[in-house]
Symmetry: C2
Subunit: 236 residues, 2 copies
Protein backbone atom coordinates (compact mmCIF):
# COMPACT_ATOMS: atom_id res chain seq x y z
CA UNK A 1 0.00 0.00 0.00
CA UNK A 2 2.79 2.36 0.94
CA UNK A 3 6.19 2.96 -0.59
CA UNK A 4 7.54 3.98 2.81
CA UNK A 5 7.60 1.75 5.85
CA UNK A 6 6.36 2.85 9.23
CA UNK A 7 8.73 3.56 12.11
CA UNK A 8 7.47 2.35 15.49
CA UNK A 9 8.82 3.21 18.91
CA UNK A 10 7.86 0.30 21.14
CA UNK A 11 8.02 0.38 24.93
CA UNK A 12 8.68 -3.13 26.24
CA UNK A 13 8.31 -2.33 29.95
CA UNK A 14 10.97 -2.83 32.62
CA UNK A 15 11.71 -6.57 32.37
CA UNK A 16 8.78 -8.97 32.69
CA UNK A 17 7.63 -9.90 29.15
CA UNK A 18 4.05 -10.13 30.49
CA UNK A 19 4.14 -6.34 30.94
CA UNK A 20 4.15 -5.71 27.20
CA UNK A 21 0.89 -4.29 25.93
CA UNK A 22 -1.26 -6.10 23.38
CA UNK A 23 -0.39 -3.32 20.94
CA UNK A 24 3.35 -3.73 21.46
CA UNK A 25 3.01 -7.47 20.81
CA UNK A 26 0.99 -6.85 17.64
CA UNK A 27 3.59 -4.43 16.29
CA UNK A 28 6.51 -6.73 17.14
CA UNK A 29 4.77 -9.60 15.36
CA UNK A 30 4.46 -7.47 12.21
CA UNK A 31 7.67 -5.55 11.67
CA UNK A 32 10.44 -6.45 9.25
CA UNK A 33 13.21 -5.20 11.51
CA UNK A 34 13.90 -4.14 15.07
CA UNK A 35 16.50 -1.67 16.23
CA UNK A 36 17.91 -2.39 19.63
CA UNK A 37 19.92 0.12 21.64
CA UNK A 38 22.67 -1.43 23.73
CA UNK A 39 24.44 0.42 26.50
CA UNK A 40 28.17 -0.08 26.96
CA UNK A 41 27.88 -2.04 30.21
CA UNK A 42 25.33 -4.59 28.96
CA UNK A 43 26.45 -8.01 27.70
CA UNK A 44 23.24 -8.31 25.70
CA UNK A 45 20.41 -5.88 25.10
CA UNK A 46 17.84 -5.94 27.93
CA UNK A 47 15.15 -4.67 25.54
CA UNK A 48 15.85 -7.48 23.08
CA UNK A 49 15.81 -10.17 25.78
CA UNK A 50 12.31 -8.98 26.76
CA UNK A 51 10.95 -8.68 23.22
CA UNK A 52 12.71 -11.49 21.33
CA UNK A 53 9.97 -14.09 21.89
CA UNK A 54 7.43 -11.94 20.04
CA UNK A 55 9.46 -11.31 16.87
CA UNK A 56 8.98 -13.16 13.60
CA UNK A 57 11.74 -15.64 12.81
CA UNK A 58 12.65 -13.67 9.72
CA UNK A 59 12.72 -10.27 11.44
CA UNK A 60 16.09 -8.56 11.17
CA UNK A 61 17.67 -7.44 14.46
CA UNK A 62 19.99 -4.44 14.26
CA UNK A 63 21.98 -3.68 17.42
CA UNK A 64 22.94 -0.06 17.94
CA UNK A 65 25.80 0.62 20.31
CA UNK A 66 25.56 4.15 21.70
CA UNK A 67 28.65 5.61 23.39
CA UNK A 68 28.54 5.98 27.18
CA UNK A 69 29.53 9.62 27.18
CA UNK A 70 28.21 13.05 28.06
CA UNK A 71 29.96 14.56 25.02
CA UNK A 72 27.05 16.07 23.09
CA UNK A 73 28.79 16.07 19.71
CA UNK A 74 29.68 12.38 19.94
CA UNK A 75 26.11 11.57 21.01
CA UNK A 76 24.53 13.61 18.21
CA UNK A 77 26.75 11.82 15.70
CA UNK A 78 25.66 8.41 17.01
CA UNK A 79 21.98 9.42 16.84
CA UNK A 80 22.44 10.76 13.30
CA UNK A 81 24.01 7.46 12.27
CA UNK A 82 21.24 5.38 13.89
CA UNK A 83 18.53 7.51 12.25
CA UNK A 84 20.28 7.07 8.90
CA UNK A 85 20.16 3.29 9.31
CA UNK A 86 16.44 3.42 10.15
CA UNK A 87 15.80 5.64 7.15
CA UNK A 88 17.47 3.20 4.76
CA UNK A 89 15.05 0.49 5.82
CA UNK A 90 12.00 2.73 5.61
CA UNK A 91 13.03 3.82 2.11
CA UNK A 92 12.97 0.17 1.07
CA UNK A 93 9.34 -0.01 2.25
CA UNK A 94 10.20 -2.04 5.34
CA UNK A 95 8.66 -1.34 8.73
CA UNK A 96 10.93 -1.06 11.73
CA UNK A 97 10.50 -0.95 15.49
CA UNK A 98 12.91 0.75 17.86
CA UNK A 99 12.79 -1.00 21.25
CA UNK A 100 12.82 0.90 24.53
CA UNK A 101 12.94 -0.50 28.05
CA UNK A 102 10.11 1.14 30.01
CA UNK A 103 8.26 3.90 28.12
CA UNK A 104 9.60 5.41 24.85
CA UNK A 105 8.89 9.03 25.81
CA UNK A 106 10.73 8.86 29.15
CA UNK A 107 14.55 9.08 29.10
CA UNK A 108 15.01 6.88 26.06
CA UNK A 109 17.39 6.95 23.14
CA UNK A 110 14.28 6.51 20.99
CA UNK A 111 13.43 10.19 21.54
CA UNK A 112 16.50 11.33 19.59
CA UNK A 113 15.84 8.97 16.69
CA UNK A 114 12.10 9.80 16.76
CA UNK A 115 12.85 13.51 16.33
CA UNK A 116 15.02 12.91 13.29
CA UNK A 117 12.68 10.47 11.55
CA UNK A 118 9.70 12.77 12.25
CA UNK A 119 11.56 15.82 10.92
CA UNK A 120 12.24 13.90 7.68
CA UNK A 121 8.50 13.36 7.28
CA UNK A 122 8.29 9.58 7.68
CA UNK A 123 5.22 8.04 9.34
CA UNK A 124 5.99 7.32 12.99
CA UNK A 125 3.92 5.63 15.68
CA UNK A 126 4.92 5.47 19.33
CA UNK A 127 3.58 2.60 21.43
CA UNK A 128 3.71 3.45 25.15
CA UNK A 129 5.20 1.01 27.65
CA UNK A 130 4.99 0.41 31.39
CA UNK A 131 7.50 2.79 33.01
CA UNK A 132 9.91 1.13 35.43
CA UNK A 133 8.60 3.47 38.12
CA UNK A 134 5.05 2.06 37.89
CA UNK A 135 6.27 -1.54 37.86
CA UNK A 136 8.51 -0.89 40.87
CA UNK A 137 5.63 0.77 42.75
CA UNK A 138 3.39 -2.23 42.03
CA UNK A 139 6.07 -4.73 43.07
CA UNK A 140 6.87 -2.86 46.30
CA UNK A 141 3.24 -2.02 47.16
CA UNK A 142 4.31 1.63 47.28
CA UNK A 143 1.62 4.11 46.16
CA UNK A 144 3.23 6.87 44.09
CA UNK A 145 0.72 9.70 44.50
CA UNK A 146 -2.72 10.33 45.99
CA UNK A 147 -5.18 13.18 45.68
CA UNK A 148 -3.42 16.51 45.08
CA UNK A 149 0.12 15.21 45.61
CA UNK A 150 2.72 15.94 42.97
CA UNK A 151 5.05 13.18 41.75
CA UNK A 152 8.51 13.90 40.35
CA UNK A 153 10.97 11.76 38.43
CA UNK A 154 14.57 12.77 39.18
CA UNK A 155 17.52 11.28 37.29
CA UNK A 156 20.18 11.40 40.00
CA UNK A 157 23.46 13.09 39.16
CA UNK A 158 26.07 12.89 41.93
CA UNK A 159 27.90 15.83 40.41
CA UNK A 160 24.90 18.14 40.76
CA UNK A 161 22.74 16.78 43.54
CA UNK A 162 19.38 18.50 43.88
CA UNK A 163 19.05 21.16 46.56
CA UNK A 164 17.36 19.79 49.73
CA UNK A 165 15.07 22.84 49.78
CA UNK A 166 13.86 21.93 46.29
CA UNK A 167 13.30 18.30 47.29
CA UNK A 168 11.21 19.58 50.21
CA UNK A 169 8.93 21.41 47.75
CA UNK A 170 7.93 18.03 46.27
CA UNK A 171 5.52 15.37 47.58
CA UNK A 172 6.68 12.13 46.00
CA UNK A 173 9.94 11.19 44.29
CA UNK A 174 11.22 8.52 41.97
CA UNK A 175 15.00 8.70 41.80
CA UNK A 176 16.58 7.11 38.73
CA UNK A 177 20.23 6.12 38.02
CA UNK A 178 20.85 5.83 41.75
CA UNK A 179 23.56 3.15 41.88
CA UNK A 180 26.60 5.41 41.85
CA UNK A 181 25.55 7.60 44.78
CA UNK A 182 23.34 5.69 47.21
CA UNK A 183 25.08 7.16 50.26
CA UNK A 184 24.55 10.70 48.96
CA UNK A 185 20.91 9.93 48.23
CA UNK A 186 20.28 8.57 51.72
CA UNK A 187 21.69 11.79 53.21
CA UNK A 188 19.61 13.97 50.87
CA UNK A 189 16.38 12.06 51.53
CA UNK A 190 16.98 12.23 55.28
CA UNK A 191 17.60 15.98 55.20
CA UNK A 192 14.50 16.60 53.05
CA UNK A 193 12.26 14.34 55.15
CA UNK A 194 11.76 11.55 52.63
CA UNK A 195 13.80 8.71 54.19
CA UNK A 196 11.05 7.36 56.47
CA UNK A 197 8.84 6.36 53.53
CA UNK A 198 11.24 5.07 50.91
CA UNK A 199 12.11 1.89 49.06
CA UNK A 200 14.84 0.72 46.71
CA UNK A 201 13.79 -1.63 43.91
CA UNK A 202 16.49 -3.50 41.99
CA UNK A 203 16.01 -5.42 38.71
CA UNK A 204 12.23 -5.08 38.83
CA UNK A 205 10.40 -7.93 37.10
CA UNK A 206 13.48 -10.14 36.82
CA UNK A 207 14.15 -13.40 38.66
CA UNK A 208 16.55 -11.64 41.03
CA UNK A 209 14.29 -8.67 41.80
CA UNK A 210 15.08 -7.16 45.19
CA UNK A 211 13.04 -4.76 47.34
CA UNK A 212 14.75 -2.97 50.24
CA UNK A 213 12.67 -0.80 52.57
CA UNK A 214 15.45 0.00 55.04
CA UNK A 215 17.47 2.37 52.90
CA UNK A 216 19.75 3.44 55.76
CA UNK A 217 21.06 -0.14 55.92
CA UNK A 218 22.42 0.24 52.38
CA UNK A 219 25.05 2.81 53.37
CA UNK A 220 28.42 1.78 52.02
CA UNK A 221 26.96 -1.22 50.15
CA UNK A 222 27.24 -1.74 46.38
CA UNK A 223 23.92 -1.38 44.53
CA UNK A 224 22.98 -2.90 41.16
CA UNK A 225 22.93 -0.55 38.16
CA UNK A 226 19.25 -1.38 37.43
CA UNK A 227 17.88 0.17 40.62
CA UNK A 228 15.55 3.02 41.47
CA UNK A 229 14.34 4.60 44.69
CA UNK A 230 10.77 5.66 45.49
CA UNK A 231 10.21 8.07 48.37
CA UNK A 232 7.36 10.10 49.84
CA UNK A 233 7.19 12.95 52.31
CA UNK A 234 3.77 12.00 53.69
CA UNK A 235 3.22 8.75 55.53
CA UNK A 236 1.73 6.02 53.33
Amino acid sequence: MEDQGIFYGVGVGPGDPELLTLKAVRVLEQVNAVFVPRAGQEKESLALSIAARFLRDEARVVELLFPMTRDREQLEASWDEAARQVRQLLDRGESAAFLTVGDPMLYSTYIYIFKRITAWGYPVETVPGIPSVCAAAAAAGFPLAEGDETMTLVPWNRNSRPDPGWLQSLNSLALLKVSSDVDGIIDSLKEAGFLQESVLVTRCGHQDERIETDLASLKGMPVNYFSLILARKEKL
Copy 2:
Protein backbone atom coordinates in the same frame (compact mmCIF):
# COMPACT_ATOMS: atom_id res chain seq x y z
CA MET B 1 -5.46 -24.56 46.97
CA GLU B 2 -6.14 -21.47 49.06
CA ASP B 3 -8.97 -20.67 51.39
CA GLN B 4 -8.53 -16.98 50.65
CA GLY B 5 -8.83 -15.45 47.21
CA ILE B 6 -6.27 -13.05 45.80
CA PHE B 7 -7.01 -9.34 45.42
CA TYR B 8 -5.63 -7.84 42.21
CA GLY B 9 -5.29 -4.18 41.34
CA VAL B 10 -5.36 -4.01 37.56
CA GLY B 11 -4.35 -0.98 35.52
CA VAL B 12 -6.30 -0.93 32.26
CA GLY B 13 -4.52 2.04 30.67
CA PRO B 14 -6.17 5.29 29.55
CA GLY B 15 -8.74 4.08 27.01
CA ASP B 16 -7.50 1.93 24.14
CA PRO B 17 -8.07 -1.76 25.07
CA GLU B 18 -4.90 -2.63 23.11
CA LEU B 19 -2.92 -0.82 25.81
CA LEU B 20 -3.69 -3.47 28.42
CA THR B 21 -0.68 -5.59 29.30
CA LEU B 22 -0.61 -9.34 28.69
CA LYS B 23 -0.59 -9.75 32.47
CA ALA B 24 -3.69 -7.60 32.95
CA VAL B 25 -5.52 -9.65 30.32
CA ARG B 26 -4.48 -12.92 31.99
CA VAL B 27 -5.72 -11.72 35.38
CA LEU B 28 -9.02 -10.42 33.96
CA GLU B 29 -9.59 -13.76 32.23
CA GLN B 30 -9.17 -15.58 35.57
CA VAL B 31 -10.92 -13.62 38.29
CA ASN B 32 -14.34 -14.42 39.75
CA ALA B 33 -15.28 -10.78 40.24
CA VAL B 34 -14.28 -7.28 39.26
CA PHE B 35 -14.78 -4.12 41.29
CA VAL B 36 -15.30 -1.04 39.20
CA PRO B 37 -15.06 2.48 40.58
CA ARG B 38 -17.48 4.92 39.00
CA ALA B 39 -17.17 8.68 39.37
CA GLY B 40 -20.31 10.74 39.81
CA GLN B 41 -20.14 12.39 36.38
CA GLU B 42 -19.75 9.18 34.37
CA LYS B 43 -22.75 7.49 32.76
CA GLU B 44 -20.90 4.19 32.73
CA SER B 45 -17.53 3.20 34.12
CA LEU B 46 -14.67 4.02 31.77
CA ALA B 47 -12.53 1.27 33.32
CA LEU B 48 -15.24 -1.32 32.72
CA SER B 49 -15.81 -0.25 29.13
CA ILE B 50 -12.08 -0.85 28.47
CA ALA B 51 -11.85 -4.18 30.30
CA ALA B 52 -15.26 -5.78 29.70
CA ARG B 53 -14.20 -7.71 26.57
CA PHE B 54 -11.58 -9.65 28.55
CA LEU B 55 -13.83 -10.84 31.42
CA ARG B 56 -15.32 -14.29 31.69
CA ASP B 57 -19.05 -14.41 31.01
CA GLU B 58 -19.68 -15.60 34.55
CA ALA B 59 -17.50 -12.96 36.23
CA ARG B 60 -19.43 -10.82 38.67
CA VAL B 61 -19.18 -7.05 38.14
CA VAL B 62 -19.57 -4.89 41.24
CA GLU B 63 -19.90 -1.15 40.63
CA LEU B 64 -18.67 1.09 43.43
CA LEU B 65 -19.95 4.65 43.43
CA PHE B 66 -17.54 6.91 45.31
CA PRO B 67 -18.81 10.34 46.39
CA MET B 68 -17.42 13.37 44.49
CA THR B 69 -16.40 15.22 47.61
CA ARG B 70 -13.29 16.50 49.39
CA ASP B 71 -14.83 15.62 52.77
CA ARG B 72 -12.27 13.21 54.20
CA GLU B 73 -14.66 11.49 56.61
CA GLN B 74 -17.18 10.73 53.87
CA LEU B 75 -14.41 9.43 51.61
CA GLU B 76 -12.89 7.21 54.32
CA ALA B 77 -16.34 5.74 54.99
CA SER B 78 -16.81 4.93 51.28
CA TRP B 79 -13.36 3.29 51.08
CA ASP B 80 -14.09 1.28 54.26
CA GLU B 81 -17.34 0.05 52.74
CA ALA B 82 -15.68 -0.88 49.42
CA ALA B 83 -12.88 -2.74 51.21
CA ARG B 84 -15.49 -4.62 53.27
CA GLN B 85 -17.20 -5.76 50.06
CA VAL B 86 -13.88 -6.97 48.62
CA ARG B 87 -13.08 -8.79 51.86
CA GLN B 88 -16.39 -10.69 51.80
CA LEU B 89 -15.50 -12.11 48.39
CA LEU B 90 -11.93 -13.02 49.37
CA ASP B 91 -13.24 -14.80 52.49
CA ARG B 92 -15.36 -17.00 50.22
CA GLY B 93 -12.16 -18.00 48.37
CA GLU B 94 -13.01 -15.92 45.30
CA SER B 95 -10.42 -13.83 43.49
CA ALA B 96 -11.25 -10.24 42.68
CA ALA B 97 -9.76 -7.50 40.52
CA PHE B 98 -10.15 -3.81 41.20
CA LEU B 99 -9.97 -1.89 37.91
CA THR B 100 -8.07 1.36 37.54
CA VAL B 101 -7.88 3.64 34.51
CA GLY B 102 -4.18 4.30 33.86
CA ASP B 103 -1.83 2.91 36.52
CA PRO B 104 -3.08 1.64 39.90
CA MET B 105 -0.37 3.37 41.98
CA LEU B 106 -0.98 6.82 40.48
CA TYR B 107 -3.96 8.83 41.78
CA SER B 108 -6.34 5.89 41.93
CA THR B 109 -9.08 4.88 44.32
CA TYR B 110 -7.42 1.47 44.30
CA ILE B 111 -4.68 2.82 46.59
CA TYR B 112 -7.15 3.33 49.45
CA ILE B 113 -8.66 -0.15 49.07
CA PHE B 114 -5.20 -1.70 48.60
CA LYS B 115 -4.02 -0.25 51.93
CA ARG B 116 -6.97 -1.73 53.80
CA ILE B 117 -6.82 -5.18 52.22
CA THR B 118 -3.03 -5.31 52.75
CA ALA B 119 -3.37 -4.24 56.40
CA TRP B 120 -5.83 -7.11 56.92
CA GLY B 121 -3.19 -9.54 55.65
CA TYR B 122 -4.85 -10.75 52.45
CA PRO B 123 -2.69 -11.61 49.43
CA VAL B 124 -2.62 -8.66 47.03
CA GLU B 125 -1.02 -8.28 43.63
CA THR B 126 -0.86 -5.01 41.73
CA VAL B 127 -0.63 -5.14 37.92
CA PRO B 128 0.77 -1.88 36.53
CA GLY B 129 -0.97 -0.08 33.68
CA ILE B 130 -0.01 2.47 31.04
CA PRO B 131 -0.35 5.90 32.68
CA SER B 132 -2.45 8.40 30.73
CA VAL B 133 0.58 10.69 30.64
CA CYS B 134 2.65 8.15 28.67
CA ALA B 135 -0.18 7.41 26.25
CA ALA B 136 -0.78 11.13 25.71
CA ALA B 137 2.92 11.74 25.08
CA ALA B 138 3.00 8.90 22.54
CA ALA B 139 -0.14 10.15 20.77
CA ALA B 140 1.08 13.75 20.64
CA GLY B 141 4.71 12.88 19.75
CA PHE B 142 5.75 14.88 22.80
CA PRO B 143 8.88 13.57 24.59
CA LEU B 144 8.38 13.81 28.36
CA ALA B 145 11.98 13.90 29.59
CA GLU B 146 15.50 13.53 28.25
CA GLY B 147 18.88 13.09 29.92
CA ASP B 148 18.98 14.76 33.36
CA GLU B 149 15.61 16.52 33.06
CA THR B 150 13.11 16.08 35.87
CA MET B 151 9.45 15.30 35.10
CA THR B 152 6.63 16.24 37.44
CA LEU B 153 2.97 15.23 37.57
CA VAL B 154 0.80 18.01 38.97
CA PRO B 155 -2.90 17.50 39.74
CA TRP B 156 -4.21 21.00 39.08
CA ASN B 157 -6.23 22.67 41.79
CA ARG B 158 -7.66 26.06 40.82
CA ASN B 159 -8.07 26.93 44.49
CA SER B 160 -4.36 26.53 45.22
CA ARG B 161 -2.51 27.06 41.97
CA PRO B 162 1.20 26.26 42.14
CA ASP B 163 3.59 29.16 42.60
CA PRO B 164 5.18 30.24 39.26
CA GLY B 165 8.60 30.23 40.94
CA TRP B 166 8.12 26.58 41.84
CA LEU B 167 7.00 25.72 38.31
CA GLN B 168 10.19 27.38 37.05
CA SER B 169 12.25 24.99 39.20
CA LEU B 170 10.91 22.08 37.13
CA ASN B 171 11.87 20.86 33.63
CA SER B 172 8.82 19.03 32.35
CA LEU B 173 5.22 19.01 33.53
CA ALA B 174 2.15 16.88 33.15
CA LEU B 175 -0.87 18.74 34.47
CA LEU B 176 -3.85 16.59 35.44
CA LYS B 177 -7.50 17.52 36.11
CA VAL B 178 -7.09 20.63 33.97
CA SER B 179 -10.61 21.11 32.59
CA SER B 180 -11.93 23.50 35.23
CA ASP B 181 -9.11 26.04 34.98
CA VAL B 182 -7.60 26.07 31.49
CA ASP B 183 -7.38 29.88 31.41
CA GLY B 184 -5.53 29.92 34.73
CA ILE B 185 -3.18 27.20 33.50
CA ILE B 186 -2.36 29.08 30.30
CA ASP B 187 -1.43 32.15 32.36
CA SER B 188 0.70 30.09 34.76
CA LEU B 189 2.53 28.25 31.98
CA LYS B 190 3.21 31.51 30.17
CA GLU B 191 4.60 33.16 33.29
CA ALA B 192 6.82 30.16 34.09
CA GLY B 193 8.09 29.79 30.51
CA PHE B 194 6.34 26.55 29.62
CA LEU B 195 3.68 27.72 27.13
CA GLN B 196 5.87 27.58 24.00
CA GLU B 197 6.30 23.80 24.25
CA SER B 198 2.93 22.52 25.44
CA VAL B 199 0.06 20.35 24.27
CA LEU B 200 -3.42 19.49 25.48
CA VAL B 201 -4.58 15.91 24.93
CA THR B 202 -8.27 15.10 25.35
CA ARG B 203 -9.80 11.61 25.58
CA CYS B 204 -6.53 9.89 24.68
CA GLY B 205 -7.01 6.56 22.91
CA HIS B 206 -10.73 7.10 22.26
CA GLN B 207 -12.41 7.63 18.90
CA ASP B 208 -12.77 11.34 19.61
CA GLU B 209 -9.20 11.90 20.82
CA ARG B 210 -8.07 15.48 20.32
CA ILE B 211 -4.58 17.00 20.37
CA GLU B 212 -4.21 20.79 20.61
CA THR B 213 -0.76 22.34 20.36
CA ASP B 214 -1.89 25.98 20.38
CA LEU B 215 -2.91 26.24 24.02
CA ALA B 216 -3.40 30.01 23.90
CA SER B 217 -6.25 29.46 21.41
CA LEU B 218 -8.18 27.56 24.09
CA LYS B 219 -8.69 30.62 26.28
CA GLY B 220 -12.36 30.93 27.22
CA MET B 221 -13.23 27.62 25.53
CA PRO B 222 -14.81 24.65 27.31
CA VAL B 223 -12.47 21.67 27.67
CA ASN B 224 -13.45 18.02 28.13
CA TYR B 225 -13.08 16.53 31.64
CA PHE B 226 -10.72 13.79 30.36
CA SER B 227 -7.90 16.12 29.37
CA LEU B 228 -4.32 16.66 30.43
CA ILE B 229 -1.60 19.12 29.49
CA LEU B 230 2.06 18.30 28.82
CA ALA B 231 4.57 21.16 28.89
CA ARG B 232 8.34 21.58 28.79
CA LYS B 233 10.64 24.49 29.56
CA GLU B 234 13.32 23.45 27.06
CA LYS B 235 12.64 23.37 23.35
CA LEU B 236 11.80 19.90 22.06
